[in-house]
């Protein structure tokens, strides 16, 4: 997925604000990969936590990315860290806006009751609006 080329909220093309006048941009992190098979999810979560120290952040789970939120993961036989529990701490970092789509849940036989946190469930039209409402999209 390419980065968001800009939104109506972004500075006009050609703007080069210096650090002193840095625009307070909003970040949308997109988690699109299942956990444990790759490190994208875990390292993406690290980036989300760092982002929360700078500016307003939200997280969108798409496709198999929603599996990262699955409750009761047992990774003991994988020798892999069960970082899903860290998503519960995101609210303490000020990241309270989590999103996923109804279709992604349905296709995987999941409901929000299966997840460690409760994301806002949106439809594809709202998804489009969500993605254009952020200044920057960082996908993992």
């Amino acid at each position: 997925m390419p980065a968001n080329p800009g939104t109506q909220n972004a500075p006009s093309i050609g703007t080069t604000a210096g650090p002193a006048e840095r625009p307070n941009k909003t970040l949308l992190f997109v988690q699109s990969q299942a956990p444990h098979g790759t490190l994208y999810g875990q390292e993406g979560l690290d980036a989300i936590m760092m982002g929360s120290a700078f500016t307003e952040c939200a997280v969108l789970f798409v496709g198999d990315g929603i599996y990262q939120l699955l409750a009761n993961q047992d990774t003991s036989l994988l020798a892999s860290r069960n970082y899903s529990v860290s998503y519960r701490a995101l609210a303490d970092y000020g990241v309270e806006k989590l999103y996923c789509t109804e279709a992604d849940l349905q296709q995987r036989g999941l409901t929000v009751a299966d997840l460690v946190v409760t994301p806002c469930v949106i439809d594809s039209r709202a998804l489009q609006a969500l993605m254009t409402s952020f200044d920057v999209i960082l996908d993992f």
């Binding site: 997925m1 390419p2 980065a3 080329p5 990969q33 760092m50 960082l138 993992f140």
Partner: protein, 130 residues
Amino acid sequence: MRFTIVVQGGPYTSQASLSAWHFARAVVATGHEIYRVFFYHDGVYNGNSLLTPPQDETDLHMAWCTLGRDHGCELVVCIASALRRGMLDDGEARRYEKPLANLNKLFIVSGLGQLIDGAISADRTVTFGN
């Protein structure tokens, strides 16, 4: 316009690194500016000075070095991603008592804050590979 380029794919493993490098060259060739290239995830392998591809293939590591040297592009590797994957500069090799350092000196080891700063400070952030 100022760009931050995020590289998440390893060299020769996916198209991500090569595409990112082509994009970076196009940015400077068309008079725009690269605020930062941030190497995350397997992208940190682009800084490996031991990469030795066949002579008739693009040497991606040297390609990034040339871009950094000729255009002053800031090449930053995420320290957490780099250490985990055995990409160390002299300082980290000493700190962790490892036998050698393999990160080219044109690459800067720094934290994830550089990714977020890059995303906020640049006019556009473009991610390659995931």
